[in-house]
């Protein structure tokens, strides 16, 4: 395996809230291989969006990267000066936001926003920028006559395509897509995902796709990272994680997710309880309070992320028993009363 494009090591991000601080991301480590799509999946508040934004180092005013490394092509971009980081932004690392409506400036035409990036960041002249803008629109399948339109004149799906075109403008090596299809209807969602996959393969770039939806991960991702309460629960090849999950949380998530291709009489099983408050997280494994398999050690010690199969890593004290736990986890009774 070649060296990954990006290696995140022990990343910590905390928010100043009230008088104290909350560790929204508490030691996240994962790799983004070259030329593949990595799915960063988790529920609201698990820290996935914070991780995505931390990689750009443009984070909320009250947030701070408090530790860890982000090795991008051999450079720790967590440590380089802001000026150097800014030179990297968009040229190497681009971003596709959740809502293209709010992330496009309403008072400029789409063309002018493409030009802004191409000329100010890409150093192109007017003519080259115009040619590139038209090329980009062709790539994402929008007629170039619409370049002169304002963002509000596009439909939701079209706007998302514009966002993709913007992200690809300077041929970045890494594109971070933060819930790029969440606000869209299923049909459009599918079209955008197809487009994203196609362009990613064509350009050979890497994509980090942040989502709460494991079916989106299943549809487009090569690898996946499952986050829970600010930590990585499981990381590995997408197929392995979804079909042979080793972390009880991933198992529970699978049970709770409806499957249109599954049996009609299937039962969904919830994970009882709610994610912990990150201002006062439980000691030990953060999933322990909701985990049906939790032992005494789980409430005491934080489980380390261990590699158990090739490229498949899990943070669970009972990961070695995973095959047995998987058997138990498919049964509804298992999840009825948390241990």
């Amino acid at each position: 395996m070649t060296e990954p494009l990006l290696s995140v090591r022990n990343l910590k991000v905390s928010y100043a809230v009230g008088g104290g601080s909350v560790d929204a991301v508490d030691g996240a480590s994962f790799d983004v291989p070259r030329g593949s799509i990595l799915g960063l999946v988790g529920e609201s508040g698990c820290g996935k969006t914070t991780v995505a934004r931390a990689i750009t180092r443009v984070i909320a005013d009250n947030a701070r990267i408090t530790g860890g490394e982000m090795i991008f092509e051999g450079t720790d971009i967590a440590a380089i000066p802001e000026r150097q980081m800014n030179a990297l932004r968009w040229r190497d690392i681009a971003f596709i936001p959740q809502s293209a409506m709010n992330s496009l400036d309403p008072v400029y035409t789409v063309e002018s926003q493409l030009h802004e990036v191409l000329r100010r960041r890409g150093g192109m002249d007017r003519r080259a920028a115009q040619a590139r803008a038209e090329e980009l629109f062709e790539m994402v399948g929008i007629e170039k006559s619409r370049l002169r339109d304002y963002p509000h004149q596009f439909s939701g799906g079209m706007r998302q395509r514009v966002a993709i075109a913007l992200a690809l403008a300077l041929n970045p090596k890494l594109v971070i897509a933060d819930e790029p299809v969440t606000a869209l209807d299923v049909i459009v969602q599918r079209q955008i995902l197809d487009q994203l996959r196609e362009l990613q393969a064509m350009l050979g770039i890497s994509v980090i796709l942040v989502t709460h939806d494991i079916s989106v991960v299943a549809y487009v991702c090569d690898r996946t990272v499952v986050m829970y309460a600010g930590r990585i629960a499981e990381e590995g090849p997408m197929e392995a994680v979804l079909t042979r999950p080793m972390h009880p949380y991933t198992m529970g998530l699978r049970n709770a997710f409806p499957d249109l291709k599954g049996a009609a009489s299937g039962t969904l099983t919830p994970i009882e309880g709610a994610p912990p408050n990150l201002a006062s997280p439980p000691p030990g494994c953060r999933f322990a309070p909701r985990c049906p398999f939790a032992l005494e050690v789980c409430t005491r010690a934080q489980p380390p992320l261990r590699e158990l199969a090739s490229g498949h890593r899990v943070a669970c004290h009972r990961a070695d028993e995973a095959p047995v736990l998987r058997e138990l986890a498919v049964r509804t009774e298992t999840w009825l009363v948390p241990a």
Partner: protein
């Protein structure tokens, strides 16, 4: 009449509890003054929808944003006044209900809201929120607490007493959605409309709320409409599904049939597009054209024709009627008797 007659149903139960006949909800955009000068920009949120719901039936109302499913739900609860057509509940026209009669209807038909954090007044304790319907129904103060606790038990909130004096922000999304459900059920209604009740919740707690909904519905013998954009969820809760697109019904029939063999081209695209949480998925191209639905400016004839891969001469000229095709009803010219089947 295969589909409808499949289940053994006794005659009284098979009589429709709710009948919707050619219901319309048209909004005029712009103010009264622009309308006075004859400037009409009409959005047809619901445009000539007809269906019936039998007692005890659970029907899913499925569609994308802007298809009119939520408006339909609001019309059923008289939160919105229909601009045309008729809604009949247990033989009584809902559209004409006033004051006392409306109050009685409100005790029998209820709504479960989409966003639990919006549906409970943040200034109200759970007790106060649940007291409101009881108060309005004239339940004496002494009985209320008992009813409230019972309703919270019904939705499986453990130790209901501990929640009574809490405020919405002190509850998790899943807990609060159960409170919203309890409020809808507290007057023991016959009919419940659930408007995307789990779309704001995290996946891990969704299933719990859905299970409670299924369970309570079966136990109380409720007639229910479940509004959703997610076919997989509708399939989990409803035996019958009505597919809407731009204010109109496209297809109406048993959910399993629709999932297995969708007839309407729109439903076909919808079923094909639903992502599943399994790795091995076909990446076949969707049977749909480009273009996006614009509720303000729908195409002539069939509203789906601009995205339909099978559209032909007839589609722009004539609005397809909903007609019986096997177990279901479909509004598509491909199924016109004159044209024959596909």
């Amino acid at each position: 009449m295969a589909g409808a007659g499949m289940r053994p149903i006794d005659p009284i139960a098979s009589e429709p509890l709710v009948s919707i006949r050619d219901v319309q909800l048209h909004y005029r955009m712009g103010g009264i003054f622009s309308a006075m000068r004859g400037r009409s920009s009409v959005v047809k949120a619901v445009d000539g929808v007809s269906f019936e719901i039998r007692r005890g039936e659970s029907v899913g109302l499925l569609g994308e944003s802007g298809c009119g499913k939520t408006s339909m739900g609001r019309l059923l609860l008289k939160l919105e006044e229909a601009t045309g057509g008729e809604i009949v509940f247990a033989g009584e026209p809902v559209t004409a209900l006033k004051r006392a009669a409306l109050k009685r209807y409100r005790a029998r038909a209820q709504l479960i809201f989409q966003n639990p954090f919006d549906a409970v007044n943040p200034r109200f304790s759970i007790r106060a929120a649940l007291s409101e319907p009881l108060e309005n129904a004239g339940i004496p103060a002494a009985e209320r607490e008992g009813r409230i606790v019972k309703a919270l038990e019904l939705v499986r909130l453990p130790q209901p007493q501990q929640f009574l004096d809490r405020y919405p922000h002190q509850l998790s999304g899943g807990q609060l959605q159960r409170v919203v459900m309890a409020r809808a059920l507290i007057l023991e209604p016959d009919f419940v409309v659930a408007d995307e009740p789990v779309s704001m919740l995290d996946v891990s707690v969704r299933a719990g709320v859905l299970n409670v909904f299924r369970d309570v519905r079966d136990r109380l013998g409720l007639t229910a409409i479940y509004i959703s954009h997610d076919l997989a969820l509708v399939r989990y809760v409803c035996e019958r599904t009505i597919v809407m697109y731009l204010g109109k019904v496209m297809e109406d029939g048993p959910t399993e049939d629709i999932v297995r063999e969708p007839l309407h081209p729109y439903t076909q695209a919808l079923v094909a597009a639903v992502p599943v949480p399994q790795p091995d998925q076909s990446h076949d191209p969707l049977p749909i054209g480009r273009g996006a639905p614009d509720p303000r400016n729908p195409p002539s004839g069939c509203v789906f024709r601009d995205r339909c891969p099978y559209a032909f001469e007839r589609c722009p000229v004539e609005v397809p009627r909903l007609r019986q095709v096997g177990t279901r009803k479909v509004a598509c010219h491909l199924f016109d008797d004159t044209t024959g089947k596909q």
